[in-house]
Symmetry: C2
Subunit: 133 residues, 2 copies
DNA sequence: TTTTTATGTCAGAAAACCTAACATAAATTT
DNA sequence: AAATTTATGTTAGGTTTTCTGACATAAAAA
């Protein structure tokens, strides 16, 4: 017999559920790093009544992505620009975007030039697999 | 384009993620109630290094079920017995279980006699729907 | 070489959580 | 009916966690 109260697969991705200590474990980032990324507006975790940061699963996803970008040599400004571009996908491929477009090319070019042939093959977010099934 | 870091649907149900404040919101139980149920071994939430309770999604499910049982008039002892019986499903329907079985019947009988015709129709855990999609 | 970036570390304060104790209404037992 | 038990409320004192802000620093960029 199955029971009714199974919320596991229904939790909203945007619900602020997790304290920073748990997010540190899930992402292997320090509190300092997480706060720094928020300071630079890469994430906007919710706050408890007492001003403690509360993170959603989407926030965790975002942090893992930020970590990945940084590991790839992209800097905070670059990540922010990528996010900005993601936010307006409808203007994409229409009129040229003056400076914005050029900036993106520069970012991408720099990324290629900076890649340092790290070649971290295959295993993406490998360590996290121990947390998942 | 989809991104790789989507942990949302892969979080282990048993991972201790949530502080008691969040569990209070999710279940609409007080901290006192949650701690009392733990004291009576209906749940066993994990602990942080500093001894703070950390709850898994399974724990939340369990608490919602406990709440439901209590609302139905079943007391803590009854819930515990139900859990015990659930833990040995293989003995079920075989040899008579002496006292255990009789105790269960008493519980069920008492539940029926105590039902007070509350008749809380249909809507199960209704309020929680606002938390889910 | 100077500046910027990303992160470490520390301090003091506030919030969240802990256990333990006492209080109590409602239900149960005697 | 009186005494006890159950499930929960409340309060107090102590510990853990998190906060902001400041200063420090290695590596990268200008």
């Amino acid at each position: 017999m199955k029971w009714v109260n199974n919320m596991t697969h229904r939790v909203r991705r945007t619900m602020p559920l997790l304290p920073i200590s748990i997010v540190m474990q899930l992402t292997e980032l320090t509190a300092r790093q997480i706060r720094y990324y928020e300071e630079h507006e890469l994430i906007s975790p919710a706050r408890s009544e007492g001003n403690k940061r509360m993170f959603s699963l989407n926030d965790v996803d975002a942090l893992l992505e930020i970590k990945d970008f940084l590991d790839q040599g992209i800097n905070i400004a670059g990540i922010k620009k990528i996010y900005d571009l993601r936010a307006q996908p409808e203007i994409e491929k229409t009129a040229p975007q003056t400076i914005t477009d050029a900036e993106l090319r520069k970012i991408l070019r720099d990324e290629i030039l900076n890649s340092k042939s790290l070649d971290r093959g295959g295993i993406r977010q490998g360590d996290l697999s121990r947390f998942f099934k």
